[in-house]
């Protein structure tokens, strides 16, 4: 009987100590594509290639500013039509070949977060295309919002978007995952359609609910699970903690990002928080030791703010001395008796002085 039990139990749990590795490897592939001899690569994997065919590339941005490197094939000819989805409405495109500007034509768009351009890139050349709003490098205070855990409440997303659109001066929406119920192709496509009514882009990592498909379709639609970008002097690191753990590969990236963000305001967001303020619930990392390992790194890296989802309520607390906010108010089954309900957060940040304010905006 011992043999029978062992042969049932061991294979059942085999391979589950690093469920994140495949997704971290997938992150490396995001933003690169070869089309008809031309090679396209988004720096830092900060955009997903939604489609690519000769003469046309469609990207889904994960950050306000992108750099796209293009090695044009010898046989490529004609103008290239570029579509950037999920971008800031004032995003501009500049293109360079060997340091020399290349002419770019902006095309009309009816959706604020979608921009179109046409650019002629001569065959055989290497070019860098820079997509960014004019204030990217301006070190001045700005505002962003945070929304997570929508899941089955996709049908009720419109009023959240309306309220977000009514909030003044929000530059973008940051997400900590669980946009969909199961991460199916249909749900991810539906979510991206819903986002067309939002006037700002949604830069987000994934949650455990996006892991309903094997392998997850997330990278195909929304890009990397773990990524880093800077905007107006503030650094943002989004980490894939959807399996209640962070992959060792991502820890290596995080170490680089923490060094890169030294001396700057640094915001870190992920889906499952390392520690649940209600510890007996353990809506947190599977391993408390790993949680402490991560928080030690964030504290040593002088991170200014941590943002989490997963728990369908709102908690403001500190972890390892860093202000922390759990906000899972997108409409998924709420934590009862907490008096919170659907909500999102609005964060005012000053690159000179840090986080000015995090306030909750109730939707219901």
């Amino acid at each position: 009987m011992r043999l029978v039990l062992c042969s049932v139990l061991v294979p059942f749990f085999a391979g589950c100590v690093r469920p994140t590795e495949e997704r971290a490897e997938s992150d490396r592939e995001v933003g690169s594509v070869n089309v008809a001899g031309s090679r396209f690569r988004v720096e830092g994997g900060l955009a997903a290639v939604r489609s690519a065919k000769p003469g046309e590339v469609v990207l889904w941005a994960s950050a306000p500013a992108l750099r796209l490197h293009v090695d044009v094939g010898d046989s490529a000819a004609g103008p290239l039509r570029l579509e950037l989805q999920n971008c800031l409405s004032d995003t501009e495109l500049r293109a360079f070949g060997a340091g020399v500007p290349v002419d770019v034509e902006a095309l009309p768009s009816s959706i604020p977060t979608r921009k179109f351009w046409s650019v002629s890139l001569p065959a055989g050349g290497s070019f860098t295309l820079v997509f960014e709003p004019p204030d990217t490098n301006e070190r001045a205070p700005f505002r962003f919002a945070v929304l997570s855990d929508i899941q089955e409440a996709l049908d009720r997303l419109s009023d959240i978007h309306a309220k977000l659109n009514a909030e003044p001066e929000i530059r973008f929406l940051l997400g900590a995952g669980d946009l969909t119920e199961r991460g199916t192709r249909e749900q991810l496509e539906r979510y991206q359609r819903e986002l067309t009514e939002l006037e700002v882009p949604y830069f987000t990592t994934l949650g455990n609910h996006e892991l309903g498909q094997e392998p997850t379709l997330w990278h195909e639609y929304f890009g990397r699970g773990s990524f880093h970008f800077g905007f107006r002097g503030v650094e943002f690191s989004l980490l894939d903690s959807a399996s209640a753990s962070i992959d060792p590969i991502v820890y290596e990236w995080l170490d680089t990002w923490l060094v890169q963000a030294r001396g700057r305001v640094h915001v870190v967001a992920m889906h499952i928080p390392p520690v649940d303020p209600i510890g007996v619930r353990n809506g947190s990392f599977a391993n408390r030791n790993e949680a402490a390992k991560l928080l030690t790194r964030l504290a040593r890296g002088r991170v200014d703010l941590t943002l989490y989802g997963h728990i369908h309520s709102y908690y403001a607390f500190e972890n390892a001395g860093i202000p922390a906010h759990i906000s899972g108010g997108g409409g998924a089954i709420p934590e009862r008796f907490d008096g919170i309900g659907r909500h999102f957060l609005v964060v005012d940040v000053d690159p000179s002085s840090g986080i000015r304010e995090v306030r909750i905006v109730r939707v219901d």
């Binding site: 589950c16 100590v17 455990n208 892991l211 408390r288 030791n289 390892a320 089954i333």
Partner: protein, 319 residues
């Protein structure tokens, strides 16, 4: 349906009892699980609801394993329980840990289990050979009922109830943090022969408690107990005694679930909806090949794989 094995063998009495206990287990799963689901794991309900669901799942698993055991084991069971505990039991061994998050792999473990009448003191330690990692623990307990380390208190079986408190310090020098926790728990064992003779030689264990951990991050500006974390402790096991000879008493095999999310095995990493919630599963084999000497083998699966072997020495008791 649990009990169907016994039913096929014509043993309707144990079959009915196992079915009843299975139903109670399912009731616990629903009774705890539904409030968890519909309250969105409310902070006000989560501890009792999780305990109820966990106990229900434990009962469900135990009745399944008991059904398998009862139909496979010979009359009289696979072994007999220890009815008088040794005064001292010492352990020295090695554990191999594969945790992708940490560098340590090989640990030396050592511990003593000292008993006097109904009192117990059990200091233990595990330290890594190739990394700066140390886990030290002291457990103190009072046996409220069951066999004790006294010939005057010999019990009829190993059914027992213990109240335990423990202090644990786990230091991760390379990563720059440590955790110090205090916990209190009730642990119980029931010899299943008390449920039905067909289950003689097997036992079930249930335990529950609460722990509070103080985190100490080695980062500028942070102090000891910068974060305080609570843990729900919960454990259930099914096991069988191995051997009837006096020298073999105390030998047993147990399969268990432990809800702890700390320690070396910690919690299971599940992809999807259950991420982060479950603790770890394990199997433990203790076998005394001689009156005083034995071996302990252990395997656990959580955030890490843990396997290991220890030598055991005991003195005193009824073996």
């Amino acid at each position: 349906m649990h009990g169907s094995g016994h039913y096929v063998l014509g043993q309707t009495a144990p079959a009915g009892k196992l079915l009843l206990w299975e139903a109670a287990g399912l009731g616990g799963i629903l009774g705890g699980g539904l409030p968890l689901y519909f309250s969105g794991a409310s902070r006000y309900l989560v501890a009792p609801a999780a305990l109820l669901a966990g106990a229900g799942f434990g009962l469900f698993a135990v009745t399944f394993l008991a059904d398998v055991y009862g139909t496979a084991a010979a009359d009289g069971g696979t072994g007999s329980p220890l009815t008088e505990l040794p005064l001292i039991e010492a352990e020295l061994g090695q554990r191999y840990v594969y945790d992708p998050q940490f560098r340590y792999r090989n640990l030396v473990v050592q511990g003593f289990d000292l008993r006097w009448a109904n009192l117990r003191l059990a200091p233990s330690a595990a330290y890594a050979l190739e990394d700066a990692n140390l886990r030290a623990r002291v457990l103190a307990g009072v046996r409220l009922l069951g066999p004790m380390a006294s010939p005057d208190a010999a019990a009829r079986d190993a059914t027992a109830l213990d109240a335990e408190v423990a202090l644990t310090h786990h230091r991760f020098a390379r990563e720059g943090f440590s955790s110090s926790s205090a916990e209190a728990a009730l642990q119980g064992r029931l010899d299943l022969a008390r449920i039905d003779r067909a289950l003689t030689g097997s036992f079930a264990e249930f335990g529950a408690g609460f722990a509070l951990a103080a985190l100490d991050y080695e980062a500028p500006g942070l102090k000891f107990a910068e974060d305080l974390e609570s843990l729900l402790l919960m454990r259930f096991a099914f096991g069988m005694y191995l051997g009837h000879e006096p020298a073999r008493r105390g030998s047993e095999l147990a399969l268990y679930y432990d809800h702890r999310h700390d320690g070396y095995a910690a919690g299971l990493k599940l992809t999807g909806l259950g991420s982060g919630v479950l603790g770890h599963f394990g199997a433990s084999l203790r076998y005394f090949f001689e009156e005083n000497w034995g071996l302990r083998a252990e395997a656990e699966v959580g955030s890490a794989y843990v396997v290991g072997l220890s030598g055991l020495f005991r003195y005193g008791g009824s073996h």
